[in-house]
C-alpha cells in the first residue's frame, strides 16, 4: 500500500509577462492568452540549476510532510531540461539533502516524468520506504524566444515540484495507476542538442485523445465515474487542453485544478507544482477520489487514482 503524504514546490521570483514574450516572438499578448490560457510565467535566474531548484522543492515537501531526508528510501527526479544529461540531477539533489547512499534515479521524461515517478513510487514504497519524487525544469534555456520558435516558446516557464509517497500514511491512498509509452511518435516532442522541439498540433491531438483514454481506463477498472472525482490534477500543458480533457470526460471543469495562468507550462514540474498549490488551498479533508494525469515526451502518458484515507 502507498499513500500521497505531502507535496512541495519552488518557483523563481522573476515573473515574465505575455507582453515581454510577445515582443520577442512577434505576437500579441492577447493571442498568447487565447492560445494557452497563460498570463505570465517564471524564469529562473542565471545562477539557478535544475538540481538546485529541485532541491528547494524537495526541502519544501519534506517540511510540509514533517519528514527528514534521512527517512527517505529512494528519490526519483524528473527533468527534460537538466544542464547535464548523465548523470542527471537526481544524485545532486540527494547530495544536497545530505544523503550519501540513498538510491536516486533520474527520469528524463519532459512533461510526464513526475507522473511516471509517482506511479513507480507507489509500487516501490512498500519495499523501499518513503519515496521522494521531484520534477524540476528550467525550460526557458531550451526554447527559442524568436518568431520561429513562437509556438512552443510562449508556453514554457521554470519551476520545481515534489511529492512524498509513503508506505505507511498520508492524506490519500494510491489505489492504482496506468502508464503507457508510444515511441513511434517520439519526434513530435523532444529535447535534442539542448533545444526543445515540438509539433504543437500533433502533440495537442495526441494528448487530447490519450489523456482521457488513460483516465477513463483507470476509472473503469475501479468503477469510479468521472463525475464523482473530487479533483483532477493534470500536467499544466495548455489551459485549452485541460478544458478539452474535462469535456471528453464529461466531468465538471471546475474540478480540474489549474495554475497555468500564473506559471505557464513547467513541463515535468507542473503536475507537482499544481498538486502542491491545490493541497495548500484545500480547506477541508479530501472526501472523494483524486486523479492525476500527464502526457509528455516519449511519448509517455498515464494516470493515477488516489482515494481519501
Amino acid at each position: 500500500m502507498a499513500f500521497l503524504r505531502a507535496f512541495g514546490s519552488w518557483l523563481p521570483a522573476r515573473q515574465v509577462s505575455n507582453h515581454e514574450v510577445a515582443a520577442l516572438v512577434e505576437a500579441t499578448p492577447e493571442w498568447i492568452l487565447e492560445m494557452t490560457g497563460i498570463e505570465e510565467r517564471r524564469y529562473a535566474a542565471e545562477t539557478d540549476t535544475v538540481a538546485g531548484i529541485g532541491l528547494l522543492a524537495a526541502r519544501d515537501c519534506l517540511d510540509k510532510a514533517g519528514a527528514t531526508a534521512a527517512e527517505l528510501g529512494m528519490i526519483m527526479v524528473a527533468s527534460g531540461s537538466s544542464e547535464r544529461f548523465c548523470p542527471g540531477p537526481a544524485s545532486q539533489i540527494a547530495t544536497g539533502l545530505g544523503l550519501a547512499s540513498t538510491p536516486a534515479l533520474d527520469l528524463p521524461i519532459a512533461s510526464a516524468g513526475s507522473l511516471v515517478g509517482l506511479a513507480l513510487a507507489a509500487h516501490l514504497a512498500p519495499a523501499m520506504g518513503r519515496v521522494l519524487v521531484v520534477g524540476a525544469e528550467i525550460m526557458s534555456r531550451r526554447i527559442s524566444l524568436t518568431p520561429q520558435g513562437r509556438n512552443s516558446s510562449i508556453l514554457f516557464g521554470d519551476g520545481a515540484g515534489a511529492a512524498l509517497v509513503d508506505a505507511g500514511s498520508g492524506f490519500a491512498r494510491i489505489v492504482d495507476s496506468c502508464l503507457f509509452t508510444d515511441g513511434a511518435s517520439a519526434e513530435i516532442l523532444s529535447v535534442r542538442d539542448g533545444q526543445f522541439s515540438m509539433d504543437g498540433p500533433a502533440v495537442l491531438m495526441q494528448a487530447s485523445r490519450k489523456i482521457p483514454r488513460a483516465i477513463n481506463e483507470l476509472l473503469a477498472r475501479h468503477q469510479v465515474d468521472a463525475k464523482d472525482v473530487e479533483a483532477f490534477l493534470l500536467h499544466q500543458a495548455n489551459l485549452n487542453l485541460i478544458k478539452r480533457v474535462a469535456a471528453a470526460l464529461q466531468a465538471p471543469p471546475e474540478r480540474f485544478f489549474s495554475n497555468i495562468a500564473r506559471y505557464g507550462n513547467t513541463s515535468s514540474a507542473s503536475l507537482l507544482i499544481a498538486a502542491d498549490e491545490w493541497r495548500c488551498q484545500q480547506t477541508a479533508p479530501l472526501s472523494g477520489p483524486l486523479v492525476l494525469s500527464a502526457f509528455g515526451s516519449g511519448l509517455n502518458w498515464g494516470a493515477l487514482l488516489a482515494v481519501p484515507c
Binding site: A184, G200, P201, L204, M205, S208
Partner: protein, 77 residues
C-alpha cells in the same frame, strides 16, 4: 453523398463556419481549423466514415486540405 461533401459537412460542424474551401486549400489558412479543432475534426471523421484513425496518423499535414483527407480516408475505408 460524395466523400468530399461528407468531409465538408464534418468540417463545417466542427468549425461552426459555413465556408467551402477548395480541395487543395489549407484548412488552417482558411480559418476553418486550428490545433484544437483538428482533434475534433479527426474524431468527427471517425464517426462519419466509421473508421478508426490511429494516433500515429495524427499529423496536421495529413488533414490540412480536403483533398488530403479524402485520399487518406480512401486508403482506410
Amino acid at each position: 453523398m460524395e466523400p468530399a461533401a461528407r468531409i465538408l459537412k464534418v468540417l463545417q460542424k466542427v468549425s461552426g463556419k459555413q465556408l467551402s474551401p477548395g480541395a487543395d486549400e489549407s484548412l488552417f489558412v482558411s480559418g476553418l481549423l486550428d490545433s484544437f479543432a483538428l482533434a475534433d475534426f479527426v474524431s468527427g471523421l471517425e464517426q462519419e466514415f466509421g473508421v478508426t484513425i490511429p494516433d500515429g496518423d495524427l499529423s496536421a499535414r495529413k488533414f490540412d486540405t480536403i483533398g488530403k483527407v479524402e485520399a487518406y480516408l480512401a486508403a482506410r475505408v
